[in-house]
């Protein structure tokens, strides 16, 4: 083929082939936003509602039933996760060219890693992290694992809204059986691209060891590991990471998942406690350290009361006899 067509002509052909056929639909193509392994994401205009939305469509030839079903399943799962931190799905179906698609809210913001470049304060970064934990915990509560949490999959909107994106690798878990385990692990369905038994999906550096090894027995602790890795990346530029925060990261990223936090709310609680200057579960501290932290937290009160007591004492000592 290369003997007959130039590279640029080939690129153009690929571009045309990837472009979804929106003829006769309520959508009009505006621009391409991104390209994944099996599909593309496009900015389209919803003519009926007169607004721009994001359209995700497979770029596989029509007739691949398995992929089509999985894209639809992905859309259904995201649609069920109604949470301010999860991009809402608006529509799903099949395009005139036979490709399955779904549309979702068009998020116009920055990727987390880009957003954080302008946020130097560690407390502000941790507050963003806590807002990432919310939708992930919500998804877990609905039996959905994300499996690809990383800064590139988090968007921060112009009004500071934090959205967890790209649930293409997400996985359904069986409902929890009581409280003895954080979540049961057997896979009852997969949402994202085909996952052969033992296939490794995710992003190196953010994947839990059990995910890296291709285990199918994943549970929410795999996402907790990824959140720990994200937390580590958030404070990577901090010269001296406080011990308690380092302990939280270590616990979230423990190689043995039994040593990790049992749930995302538990991890978030420790981070929130760290922010508030309260003790964290991951870092047992000595009594003197606890007392010092209490004094540090209440130093304004203590100084004011001390000033009052000293004044009173001085006045009593200096009173005329």
């Amino acid at each position: 083929m290369n003997r007959w067509l130039s590279d640029s002509a080939l690129d153009r052909l690929r571009e045309v082939a990837d472009t979804p056929d929106l003829e006769g639909t309520r959508y009009r193509l505006v621009q391409k936003l991104g390209q994944g392994g099996m599909g593309g994401v496009f900015c389209v205009e919803d003519i009926t509602l007169e607004r721009q939305v994001a359209l995700k469509a497979l770029n596989l030839p029509p007739g691949d039933g398995a992929w089509s079903a999985r894209l639809l399943q992905e859309a259904r799962v995201i649609a069920k996760l109604e949470h301010p931190g999860i991009v809402p799905v608006h529509d799903a179906g099949t395009l005139p060219d036979g490709r399955p698609f779904y549309t979702m809210k068009l998020v116009q913001g920055k990727r987390l890693d880009e957003h954080l470049a302008a946020v130097g304060n560690i407390s502000d970064r941790l507050r963003v992290f806590l807002r990432i934990c919310d939708p992930v915990a919500f998804a877990h509560a609905h039996g959905v694992l994300h499996r690809d949490l990383k800064p590139a999959n988090v968007m921060v909107g112009p009004f500071g809204e934090v959205l967890v994106m790209d649930w293409g690798l997400s996985k359904l878990m069986r409902a929890p059986r009581g409280n003895e385990e954080p979540a049961t692990t057997s896979v009852i369905g997969r949402v994202g691209p085909t996952t052969e038994h033992g296939a490794v999906l995710g992003t190196p550096g953010f994947m839990a060891p059990e995910q890296t090894s291709g285990s199918t027995e994943l549970d929410e602790r795999a996402d907790i590991y990824s959140l720990g890795a994200m937390l580590q990346s958030l404070v990577a530029e901090v010269h001296a990471v406080p011990r308690a925060l380092a302990a939280i990261i270590r616990k979230a990223m423990a190689h043995d998942r039994r040593q990790r936090y049992r749930s995302v709310p538990e991890l978030a609680e420790d981070v929130a406690h760290f922010l508030d200057g309260l003790p964290v579960k991951a870092y047992p501290e000595a009594d003197w350290a606890r007392a010092w932290r209490w004094i540090s937290r209440n130093r304004a009160w203590i100084l004011l009361l001390l000033a009052y007591m000293i004044t009173r004492a001085v006045l009593i000592l200096l009173r005329p006899r």
């Binding site: 304004a300 009160w301 009052y308 004044t311 009173r312 006045l315 009593i316 009173r319």
Partner: protein, 120 residues
């Protein structure tokens, strides 16, 4: 707890404590009851005024300055009244009174529920 109530309680408690310290001044021990009552009322007034200010103005420095001003003003009003021998206790009353005002100003800005805006 709203800020005015917080100021009222804190002012009252500190006022009682402030009045009780008069016990260390033998010359005025005989007037302890009156001193404690007066000091408590002074604390309550300072507390409620500072708390009300905190409901309206959300600023730690301004809250502290307002508390200090109210504390000093009320303490001055008390100190301006001489004892039986005609002696005034400006320092003894105004210094702790000012600090109590600062404490209330700080507390009402940092803690307590702010005023709620009515929905329209």
């Amino acid at each position: 707890m709203n800020k005015a109530l917080l100021g009222l309680i804190l002012g009252g408690v500190l006022g009682i404590f402030d009045g009780l310290t008069a016990w260390f001044t033998p010359a005025v021990r005989s007037q302890m009851v009156g001193i404690v009552i007066g000091s408590t009322v002074k604390g309550l007034i300072a507390g409620v005024l500072t708390g009300y200010f905190a409901r309206k103005v959300k600023s730690l420095p301004l809250g502290i300055v307002f508390g200090l001003g109210v504390g000093l003003l009320l303490a001055y009003a008390v100190a301006a009244m001489p004892d039986a021998s005609g002696k005034h206790y400006y320092w003894e009353i105004m210094l702790p009174g000012g600090i109590v005002g600062v404490i209330i100003g700080y507390a009402t800005q940092r803690f307590g529920q702010p005023a709620q805006t009515a929905a329209h």
